[in-house]
Symmetry: C2
């Protein structure tokens, strides 16, 4: 538990990096740019996965699995997609090692085992999946196809940051095929809504739903819908994307279907994904200088019980009370850890579970035994209260709900206070440099203006909000006419 503590104010990036490592969430591996997700971090990811998976299935999707590798000729078939990912592809060129003749204890790549065609480690799976769908789709009866995949993907990155940007990451990618444009767009929007509901209800992070500009669109998409969250340092984080792919992949892989009227048409596509990046959002949105703050709906341990005792006689009595409480809480589905290890002191345990973001801590000491009481501490507000041991279950159920709501409201207030409407270029730069957050401003709709603003300020258009109001105005940069405000921010 001895580790370098850095506050958010001192150095936000270092605070984040330290927190991820010290709370046992993840660490850098021996492989450049790749992370190890440690058991505690993975337990949070498993809770996310389970909930998202339920939501995908409730909206009619099934899981499947497609190959890790994409042959180069398939990879390059959809040109924009290929171009978009070409610079960050890990490429398999050989399929065998052999003993190094110069040093028998070493291995070397066997030059005779060169692949005829190189294999790309999937950065995303549209190409391999649409080359497969070609054989699955003949008629309108075969549509829609509603498939999701949980997988690892690789995008070579020079500058990496745990969870937020790593060469290998875990994600889910939905890939659907439809008979009509309308149905495909409906699916794209539906999945954006699923992501938004997940972010707000489970991660307790308020998000803005919007559409990306052409510059920020997924390579190969007609339209990219996104949810954007705001972190405590005023930077935006794209938390999920849902793409309307039009007929681009159907055309690239020649996937046609016979309509009810007997006509041959190209199939319409969507894809949508969220990744272990969400872990980064979860950590950065709620945590404080003492460690992680987890929303109860995603906390692997919702309640921890710590005994405070001298000698084993006291511990035996506390064990009895604690285990009874644990059982009662578990009966209603609350996950509880009773930490009666004798290798660590209560103070150490208090700090440890604060660091790990456990929403509620209960502690029981000798006086509590006498009085039939228990001390409860909330991780989010740090409030403490002494409660009777009876009727604890209902109170804790309510409190977990309250904590979940409180985290959301706190994040929402912060987010709302950090959306600033500006009307001049000076204001824009001033707000961006002093306050940060989302800047709501008029934009002339051109990629050139967007690009110049990015060059000058590092701010990008995070999205054109779905709830954008029609409002005649002038572009904050060029002064040209605009029909509505878009959201700018610096982003992860």
């Amino acid at each position: 538990m001895s580790y370098e503590k850095v506050s958010r104010e001192e150095d936000y990036n270092k605070w984040y990096q330290n927190l991820v490592v010290n709370a046992d969430l993840a660490e850098h591996s021996a492989v450049r740019g790749c992370m190890v997700i440690k058991p505690y971090g993975y337990a949070i990811w498993e809770k996310m996965q389970a909930q998202l998976d339920r939501m995908f299935k409730a909206t009619g999707h099934s899981n499947a699995y497609f190959p890790l590798f994409v042959p180069k000729s398939l990879f390059e078939a959809e040109e924009k997609n290929a171009e978009g990912f070409a610079k960050e592809c890990a490429v398999v060129t050989h399929y065998r090692l052999k003993t190094n003749p110069d040093d028998k204890s070493k291995l070397m790549v066997d030059p005779e085992a060169r692949l005829e065609e190189e294999l790309i480690v999937r950065p995303t799976s549209e190409a391999i999946i649409w080359s497969t769908y070609k054989n699955w789709i003949q008629s309108y009866r075969d549509l829609p196809i509603l498939v999701n995949q949980w997988a690892n993907v690789v995008r070579w990155e020079m500058r990496t940051r745990l969870f937020l940007r790593t060469a290998e990451f875990l994600w889910q990618e939905g890939h659907t095929a439809h008979a009509s444009k309308e149905e495909a767009i409906q699916e794209t929007v539906q999945m954006l809504d699923v992501y938004s509901e997940f972010a707000e209800t489970f991660m307790a992070i308020p998000v803005i739903k919007g559409v990306k500009t052409e510059n920020e669109r997924f390579a190969g998409a007609e339209d990219t819908y996104c949810i954007e969250g705001l972190m405590q340092d005023g930077k935006a984080l794209q938390m999920g994307t849902s793409h309307f792919l039009g007929q681009n992949f159907a055309k690239a892989f020649d996937v046609k279907f016979t309509t009810q009227q007997g006509v041959q048409e190209y199939v319409w596509a969507t894809s949508w994904g969220v990744s272990t990046r969400l872990m980064g959002a979860l950590i950065m949105c709620h945590s404080d200088d003492d460690g992680l703050v987890l929303p109860p709906n995603l906390a692997p341990i919702q309640v921890v019980i710590v005994p405070i005792y001298k000698g084993s006689d006291q511990l035996i009595k506390i064990d009895e009370v604690a285990n009874k409480i644990k059982n009662e809480l578990e009966l209603v589905g609350i996950s509880v850890k009773y930490d009666n290890r004798d290798t660590q002191k209560p103070g150490w345990k208090f700090a440890e579970y604060e660091l790990k973001g456990v929403p509620i801590r209960l502690s029981i000491g000798p006086r509590d035994l006498e009085n039939g009481t228990i001390e409860l501490a909330r991780r989010d507000t740090r409030e403490k209260e002494v409660l009777q041991q009876t009727d604890l279950t209902g109170k804790i159920q309510n409190l977990l709900k309250q904590i979940q709501e409180n985290l959301y409201l706190k994040a929402e207030t912060f987010r709302d206070n950090n959306i600033t409407a500006v009307n001049t270029w000076d204001e824009f730069k001033e707000v961006l440099n002093t306050k940060g957050g989302f800047i709501s401003a008029h934009w002339d709709g051109t990629s050139e203006t967007e690009e110049t603003i990015k060059q000058e300020t590092k701010a990008t258009i995070r999205c054109i909000p779905l709830n954008q109001k029609a409002e005649i105005g002038k572009c904050v940069f060029s002064g040209k006419p605009s029909n509505g405000r878009v959201l700018f921010a610096k982003a992860y």
Copy 2:
């Protein structure tokens, strides 16, 4: 539903291959040796995963995630392990593609983006995990580490078969670290027991628990424990392995801990895994010439209801009854599909769900509406009976249990009838060629004899059974003395 039907007797391999494809379980992909696991096949794998995961957690394990890539220098650190896998490694050598100057629509590997050190796509993760554990372990207090990973791995294979042998496959790999040899061996055996319980109780496949000979041992292990099942064609299939790794990986990666007595010692290791290969075992053990036969405990759809009707008036009435039954069954946790699609006829649906191995089929026609009855058909025995619609739930719950047991007993009888004790080399060859199955025979304990037998007959020692009886005898091949019988078989 028009597909080439081949019986097991005609061509067992073709029967298997057709079944996997026609029942929508998996198919070959555009990537040599890699498969696509289709939604129905993946749904079965998900049920396996969920149950195994519960069993791993119940025995104290947590999940984590380690990198897909292993730098060559780490890969070669444990020499035997490296040597064992060197010939089947996919190797990443480059991290970027660029536009092909000779054809702007194509991409090529960018020769300037060559990695300084090649990365091996993990064939197994001992190396990357033990290089990580080195930083996690200082003292006996850090032990044991009980971690499992669900992941994809790649072992380049020239001859592949869906599920049974593919270049990429999905698996879980447990990697544990212990303070003592005894504890590590205990863990190895415990996980073998978990696998065996899973195979017998969920897959309805009886297995023999045993230890591999040195020849068949996992590269880098001190001892490999295994469970072996018997398929309908008389070949054995290794269904899971649990390795006692001794201190081999601790020594290769210099992983030491301070004991309670303050002494520095190398850590003891185990690893254990099962893969999508289990899907192959499940299919081959129970299925028949009409398709898949699934044990209820792993069937994604346990009960299918098919309406038999003329006109929408009848269908509306049947819908009402069917949905009521569906709801009642779902209330007790039975998964039910009501297939009232009007695009297919009942006969087509009957064949379809037989092919897909749904354990129980219910059908409701106009006469059933009049009589308050329903027709039930078992997939395993093909028995049909007409039941009253009332009290159906309890009967179906019992029947699902009976089917599960029946499949196990049938497989057990077959297996037991196909373990043949032989005492001469002629008998050995005779039984192997005519009857197949496990051959229980004396063996002199030498790798040479084992190797010669393999060369001459293709039979290998599947295992030295854990329940081997001490019995003085003579090696069936060499005539040299032996202390007990081992199990030979041809194997997948």
